[in-house]
């Protein structure tokens, strides 16, 4: 320091973790959510831009995607919020045992969702290279699949970490809390995509 210093407060008493906006990683996650949200918003804009060029949507001669698998996917992903909320609450309550019990449920839900998603691609009734309509709905579904896949991977790594002794560290509970926050974002984003893929073509 160029100048002598004068001590004011001593901060040794401050905590080393906090939940919510006091956490640095919370801000990082919000930052990446905005990035991904922007990405999806622009993809939605491209969807409506391309739709504006067509006489019909889907274009004449093509059938709208089958409802079954996409709707089943929607129901399961909405139900997955139940264990997700329980995990989030357990994290705030520092209940590591409950988290260890619940994490396999959310990982299993992710696996089921990914399997259904594979079938969903087959039920779109159009291929990505058939026309611009096919390209954009494949793009929306693929983007969301990547979203699910990355969060599923994160969740597995976190689950493994929570099974170790460091699972008891406060910061790991903050991680758990924020991972649950992110899962909410994943299913919230799915709702407009579901409507755009399955219901806008039926309007």
């Amino acid at each position: 320091m160029i100048r002598p210093v004068r001590f004011t407060d001593d901060l040794a008493h401050l905590p080393t973790h906090k939940f919510g906006p006091s956490s640095l990683t919370w801000w990082g996650i919000i930052g990446y959510m905005v990035v991904e949200g922007g990405f999806f918003a622009l993809a939605f804009a491209a969807y409506f831009f391309l739709m504006g060029h067509e006489q019909g949507w889907p274009p004449e001669g093509w059938a709208a995607p089958d409802l079954l698998w996409g709707s089943l996917f929607t129901i399961i992903i909405l139900l997955s919020e139940i264990p997700n909320t329980m995990i989030k609450r357990a994290a705030h309550a520092y209940d590591v045992q409950a988290i260890r019990r619940l994490m396999p449920m959310i990982v299993a839900a992710g696996a089921v969702l990914l399997i259904i998603r594979g079938v969903e691609f087959n039920a779109l009734n159009v291929r990505w290279n058939d026309n611009a309509y096919g390209s954009i709905i494949w793009a929306l579904l693929l983007l969301h699949t990547i979203h699910i896949l990355t969060d599923w991977g994160d969740t597995i790594v976190l689950w493994a970490l929570m099974m170790t002794p460091v699972g008891y560290e406060g910061r790991r509970l903050v991680d758990t809390d924020e991972n649950a926050l992110y899962w909410r974002y994943v299913w919230l984003l799915w709702i407009p995509i579901y409507l755009m893929i399955y219901w806008v073509p039926r309007l």
């Binding site: 320091m1 160029i2 002598p4 001590f7 801000w27 905005v34 026309n131 096919g134």
Partner: protein
């Protein structure tokens, strides 16, 4: 949990509590030389090549960013000299048409994606933590990953150029030219994938900067006391976060059109080439302000320090930065006037484009008022500020001219546009950048740059610049089109082109002089004191160059210009850990101490992850199978990056 386990857990907690009481912290008991030695042991880089690759010190990463970006500036500059040689005379034969297409594509792409944006981020990564009084950026490992992604993207583009597969589609790669039908081969894919690299890098750096600025400011540095450069970088980082997804999306769609046959831009299957233009310019226009706004931050910093007066009307400057950032997203269509738009579209985007002159003008008036009311010292950084104001105002005025649709339709794709954007980009960003590099050089290296060489360099650059680009206005008015490799004699284009070429070599001389000045000063320059310009912000409160840990104690701030206003001893807070890396988080608005935050140790995994991502991106030019086979190693590297090196609990958290 059975009672035995519960008992174990309780014992463990007691042991940790006892350990916690013994942790060394800075303060009355621990300061001065011993504190320095212990902090340095905790924070300094590990030896060896691995240590060098694994470092997460924001100062090292920032320096690498700056040096790499300057190398790309030189490379891009050499390309422009070849182009100027080709255009010096009518019907030139230095290069052919195809090579010329590669040259302007490489020049534009290098300057925009590999020089201008990264160098602003690099300067910010170096200086922001010092300026806001903290020990590290947020997410230092992400910061390291961001640098390597940028480096690999730049290398890929230039290696491709060396192997004669450089892109030749212009820096904005319009479809259908860049699509599968008109650009067979891999040139366009190289361009699109370079974009992917730099955008991943820029987004990571942006998140790092936003979190650092919002959460890691020194106690007392409320938003209304934040240095203007930090404000500028906050807005710029947010703009990157909102703008970059757009180019990620459109270049991703381009790659998939080319690789797997999607039809986004294919008119015959009801795609639309204009979709590209909308998405590209929704990014591309904010991009210009992403480059320009950090420079306004530089100008505010230099003006304040060299006029010895706080910036006039600070709130106006802050609001001007924010409103420029918002307006930047409402202008993109003015790049598309020549594509044909509804009449109301023309009116709206003309008005919006002219509106942006208002906040920019306000900032310029605030700087002029600061100079008028202060006592300016015309040392090199300040000369660059004056050069900036003159040049940028000319570029701004030609911008207002081409915001008008009838004039734009006449001048679209002529050298008038080339003149305009070089005035705003070089005048608006490179001049302040050279000023700020001179200004922060003593902080970064501990030595002063030569004032004499600096002044000579400034004048050659300033005059050479005007000689290069002012005649281009006339060439453009005479109808000389952009991106055409030659022109015929007898149309009045000989003189302006010859002048431009002479000017370009003067500019190159000045840049060379700047580099020589930098290198010589780095080894032989006068030793710098801690605060050689007698400036007011916190980066000058630590030594030059700063120690690995930045500040021995976290400083406390009570005004906008703390080093001018604290007459006596510098107030600091204490109580951070000394033998593990730790820094302080404060609240977003009021900067009240909130959390003690462990800082991640150095890690090789960001480098490994960047290598894996690099293999992934490059191979996806050739096959869609790169997605699973490149994605899995990337995911593994990232999991290893997150995974702690020890699973034993510690008294207080460490990220190792």
């Amino acid at each position: 949990m059975n009672p035995e386990e519960l008992e174990d857990l309780r014992e463990e907690n007691e042991r940790l509590e006892a350990e916690r009481a013994r942790i060394a912290r800075d303060g009355h008991h621990l300061n001065g030389a011993e504190l320095h030695a212990r902090l340095d042991r905790t924070w300094r880089r590990q030896p060896g090549l691995i240590g060098w690759l694994a470092t997460v010190d924001h100062k090292e990463i920032g320096r690498r960013y700056i040096v790499t970006a300057l190398i790309f500036l030189a490379l891009g500059g050499v390309l422009s000299l070849i182009m100027r040689l080709q255009l010096a005379r009518p019907d030139g034969h230095v290069v052919g048409a195809a090579r010329y297409n590669e040259l302007f594509t490489m020049h534009g792409s290098t300057m925009m994606f590999l020089f201008a944006v990264p160098i602003m981020e690099g300067v910010a990564v170096y200086i922001i933590p010092l300026m806001v009084g903290t020990r590290s950026t947020a997410f230092p490992r992400l910061n390291s990953y961001s640098y390597y992604m940028y480096l690999f993207g730049g290398l890929m583009l230039w290696v491709a150029f060396a192997f004669n597969i450089a892109p030749d589609i212009g820096w904005f790669a319009y479809t259908p030219l860049s699509g599968p039908q008109f650009s067979p081969g891999k040139r366009a894919d190289i361009w699109a994938q370079m974009i992917t690299f730099t955008e991943v890098s820029a987004l990571a750096a942006a998140v790092v900067l936003v979190c650092t600025i919002l959460k890691a400011r020194a106690p007392g540095m409320t938003l209304s006391r934040m240095p203007l450069f930090a404000w500028a970088m906050l807005v710029v980082a947010l703009m990157i976060i909102f703008a970059m997804p757009s180019i990620a999306l459109c270049s991703g769609m381009l790659i998939s059109d080319r690789l797997v046959g999607t039809q986004f831009y294919n008119h015959y299957e009801h795609g639309d080439a204009l979709l590209w233009q909308h998405l590209f310019w929704f990014f591309g226009h904010p991009e210009v302000y992403i480059i320009f706004l950090p420079a306004t931050g530089f100008v505010s910093v230099i003006t304040e320090a060299f006029c010895r007066r706080p910036i006039f009307a600070y709130p106006v400057v802050v609001l001007a930065i924010i409103s420029t950032g918002i307006l930047a997203f409402g202008l993109w269509v003015h790049h598309m006037f020549a594509t044909g738009l509804p009449r109301v579209g023309y009116s709206f985007y003309t008005a919006a484009s002219m509106t942006v002159a208002i906040p920019t003008g306000l900032q310029i008036f605030c700087w002029l008022a600061t100079m008028w009311d202060g006592r300016p010292r015309f040392q090199v950084p300040m000369l660059y500020v004056v050069g900036f104001i003159v040049t940028f105002v000319i570029g701004g005025l030609s911008g207002v001219i081409i915001a008008a649709v009838p004039l734009d339709l006449q001048l679209h794709d002529t050298y008038f546009i080339v003149a305009h954007f070089h005035y705003v980009l070089i005048g608006g960003a490179v001049f302040p950048l050279l000023g700020i590099l001179t200004y922060w050089f003593p902080k970064i290296t501990g030595r002063m740059m030569s004032e004499t060489l600096g002044k000579i360099g400034f004048w050659i650059l300033f005059l050479g610049f005007q000689l290069t680009f002012f005649p281009m206005h006339f060439a453009g008015l005479l109808g000389m089109p952009r991106r055409v490799y030659t022109y015929p004699a007898g149309m009045g284009l000989e003189l302006p082109n010859l002048l431009s070429t002479i000017g370009a070599f003067a500019v190159a001389t000045a840049v060379l002089l700047f580099v020589i000045n930098g290198v010589v000063s780095y080894f032989r320059g006068a030793l710098a004191t801690d605060n050689p310009w007698d400036a007011s912000s916190l980066e000058w409160a630590t030594s030059s160059p700063p120690p690995s840990y930045n500040f021995e104690h976290i400083p406390v701030v009570a005004s906008r210009t703390p080093l001018w206003d604290e007459k006596g001893d510098l107030p600091v807070v204490t109580g951070l850990r000394v033998d593990d890396k730790e820094t302080l988080l404060t609240t977003v608005v009021a900067a009240i101490p909130d959390v003690r935050e462990p800082v991640p140790e150095a890690s090789i995994w960001p480098f490994v992850a960047a290598c894996a991502t690099g293999v992934f991106f490059v191979s996806s030019i050739f096959s869609p199978w790169a997605v699973p086979f490149g994605g899995i190693p990337t995911a593994i590297a990232m999991a290893a990056w997150f995974w702690p090196s020890s699973l034993k609990r510690t008294a207080e958290p460490v990220i190792a």
